[in-house]
């Protein structure tokens, strides 16, 4: 793989981007409300039937943008976590961000709060869980730093899961319980432009340090001692990466609910395409993730008369793929 030059890789990036743009245009044209491609185009340009404009601009467009944003963000966060922990089995929720966000949202639903507050609670829960994990892990001094982080993440995640289950038991079974179940499976069904606006700056804010630090993160993958020998302060970089990837994951989880598998599987495909170098892995993961989730979400809203939760589709698609990946024994990591 390393024999390839920058040229073909740039081409690859362009090809992928073009594919994602084509997918987005296609997704805008598909939906239960019957609209011809011409009507969709007219509605996008703000002319024609006002009802069609509302469907395309008000419903489909935010949803397509949200799918791209959530998929890209989760895959970028997954690639970062995998580089950080030097482990391909890591996904963005390794430090409990999904479990924390899930708990936050469930508290919001349990208290019968409006949607905006449920999202805010989810965001705060995701960040809170990771802050708790890093604080506890840094207080544990007598073990490997990374091991301490991972184990604390597992523990806090399990604790948040238990609290979520407790609230499910206490929730009104005819009202809140179904809402909780649907939220924990993830969905973009009710996404509006107003939901996306706060998520975009948060995701960008998280992506900037990852892009700026891409070479140092690469060095980090060699191990703490080697990184130090090359003049990279592992502890500080790790802290920044965790903060950035968590911010990204928490903000999109607040928007879409808990969507699993994207952050785990997509970086693998990206690695098969461009190798493990983080500088290339990050953008390719983001583009692939965006296209993948767009595809999945378009399936979710079209394959049945009702919405299929995203978490179900990503698992059904992701699990066999991951098994194939294991069986094929690709050594994309090294």
């Amino acid at each position: 793989m390393s024999a390839r030059k920058t040229g073909p890789k740039l081409t690859l990036g362009l090809v992928l981007s073009a594919l994602v743009i084509m997918l987005s245009v296609g997704a805008l044209a598909i939906g239960p409300f019957p609209l011809s491609p011409g009507e969709v185009l007219a509605a996008l340009l703000g002319i024609g039937d006002p009802q069609a404009q509302l469907v395309v601009q008000g419903i489909r467009l935010p949803r397509v943008v949200a799918a791209l944003l959530v998929g890209g963000a989760l895959a970028a966060a997954g690639a970062s976590y995998q580089a950080l922990f030097r482990n391909p089995l890591v996904s963005p929720d390794i430090l409990g961000v999904s479990a924390g966000a899930g708990l936050g949202a469930v508290i919001g639903i349990f208290l019968s709060l409006p949607v905006a507050f449920i999202q805010l609670f989810a965001f705060a829960g995701g960040l809170g869980a990771v802050v708790l994990v890093t604080v506890i892990a840094s207080a544990v001094r007598n073990t490997d730093r990374i091991l301490a982080l991972v184990l604390t993440g597992v523990v806090i995640g399990a604790l948040a899961g238990a609290a979520t289950s407790l609230l499910k038991v206490l929730a009104d079974p005819y009202d809140q319980l179904p809402a909780i179940t649907f939220w924990l499976l993830g969905s973009l069904a009710s996404t509006t432009a107003g939901d996306i606006l706060p998520a975009v700056p948060a995701v960008l804010l998280g992506l900037v340090p990852l892009v700026l630090l891409r070479w140092r993160i690469n060095v980090l993958a060699l191990g703490d001692d080697e990184a130090r020998a090359l003049g990279v302060e592992a502890g500080r970089i790790r802290f920044i990466v965790i903060a950035a990837a968590t911010l990204i994951t928490a903000s999109v989880t607040a928007l879409a609910g808990v969507v699993g598998w994207v952050g785990l599987v997509i970086p693998h495909i990206a690695r098969m395409l461009v190798g493990p170098g983080f500088a290339r892995l990050l953008p390719v993961s983001a583009i692939l993730g965006a296209g993948y989730l767009l595809l999945v979400d378009t399936l979710a809203r079209t394959i049945a008369a009702v919405e299929v939760p995203l978490g179900i589709l990503t698992a059904v698609i992701g699990a066999p793929f991951f098994i194939w990946l294991l069986a094929a024994g690709r050594r994309g990591w090294a």
Binding site: P32, P114, I118, P173, F182, A189, S190, A304, A305, E307
Partner: protein, 348 residues
């Protein structure tokens, strides 16, 4: 040590007390033959629907509510029964009641009002074997309400009251059927039930959560056409496409924003101001839980769906229903609060 012995003793005494003096046999909705004692003094309701069934028929035997009654709901429950303790739920419906606590209450009978599918039959048999307390399964479908009232009335020792209420329900059904007989299918209003704060959770046609729509003479727009049921997520695009003429909900968060949200603006029901908020005191009018509480919602919806054909003033119907079923005489203020709620102004 002493305390443990004492507890064990209480447990066994409770078990003994719970063994019924088998005197009569009742066949429940699942076809199970259940031996009941002559006198039923205490009843454990397995969940919210059953608790309402028992409360309506014979409140003095109800051992407790699945959850404590909230202040907002209290004026609509007869005084002594507002204070009943929270006793939890049994069986697969998110069971959080402890069997030992059930034995401590030592009910003469456990009543379950809802699904009578095999899982629930098996669960009922297991609890009955384990505790020795007769366990009655009653079919909770809306259409079967008169039969449920007769069966439960007989089991609770108040067959006349069961018969009286069953007749009342049948009369309400007949009043609606008379309107429907003159209204062809395509003239019936197309209805969407909005659940969850974003309004995008709904029940498919025929689900226990939405069967009131069809019973009141509406057509549920969430109809996949293949007989599937249950709660699902819908997308806004689907709602706009199916373009319901009426939207019913009990979610105050959804109701508070639906008329201001530009996304919902193109829906026929929103344009014409036909989004209706159901009161939920002491129980939901249209669902939540699916039990006898839906009867007042049925009259309310029939009036909304067929304003010209349906005769009756809501205020008097509410007064009569709350008095006959809930054993309370609501004050004019209490009635005002309910009626304003049903007009979209819920208590804060």
């Amino acid at each position: 040590m002493h305390r443990n012995t004492l507890r064990g003793l209480v447990f066994w005494l409770a078990l003994l007390a719970a063994v019924p003096v088998a005197a009569r046999t009742v066949v429940d909705s699942a076809g199970r033959e259940v031996q009941l004692p002559d006198e039923v003094g205490t009843v454990f309701a397995s969940g919210p629907p059953a608790s309402i069934l028992v409360y309506v028929l014979r409140p003095e035997v109800l051992a407790g509510w699945p959850r404590a009654i909230r202040p907002e709901e209290a004026p609509y429950i007869a005084a002594p029964y507002r204070e009943l303790p929270a006793s939890g739920r049994l069986t697969g419906r998110g069971g959080d009641a402890n069997l030992e606590r059930v034995l401590e209450i030592a009910p003469d009978l456990i009543i379950d009002f809802g699904s009578v599918r095999d899982t629930y039959i098996d669960l009922a048999d297991r609890v009955q074997r384990q505790t020795g307390i007769p366990y009655l399964l009653i079919d909770g479908r809306f259409e079967a309400t008169p039969a449920a009232l007769r069966l439960a009335g007989e089991a609770l020792g108040v067959p006349e009251r069961g018969e009286l209420l069953a007749r009342d329900v049948e009369q309400t059904f007949e009043r609606i059927d008379a309107i429907l007989a003159a209204t062809p299918e395509q003239d019936r209003p197309r209805v969407y039930m909005a659940r969850a704060p974003d309004g995008l959770e709904t029940g498919l046609k025929g689900s226990i959560n939405t069967e009131i729509i069809e019973r009141a003479g509406g057509r549920n727009v969430a109809d996949p056409g293949d007989g599937r049921r249950g709660l699902v997520r819908a997308s806004l695009e689907q709602v706009i496409f199916s373009d319901p003429e009426v939207i019913v909900t009990w979610d105050r968060n959804f109701y508070a924003q639906v008329f201001h949200n530009p996304m919902w603006a193109p829906v026929d029901a929103v344009r014409n101001g036909r989004v209706y908020l159901s009161p939920t005191a002491p129980f939901g009018w249209i669902d939540r839980p699916p039990s006898l509480n839906r009867l007042i919602g049925l009259k309310w919806l029939a009036g909304l769906f067929y304003p010209e054909q349906w005769r009756g003033t809501l205020r008097e119907e509410v007064r009569a229903f709350y008095s006959r079923y809930y054993h309370v005489e609501p004050t004019e203020q209490d009635l005002d609060r309910l009626l304003q709620w049903s007009e979209g102004k819920p208590p804060q």
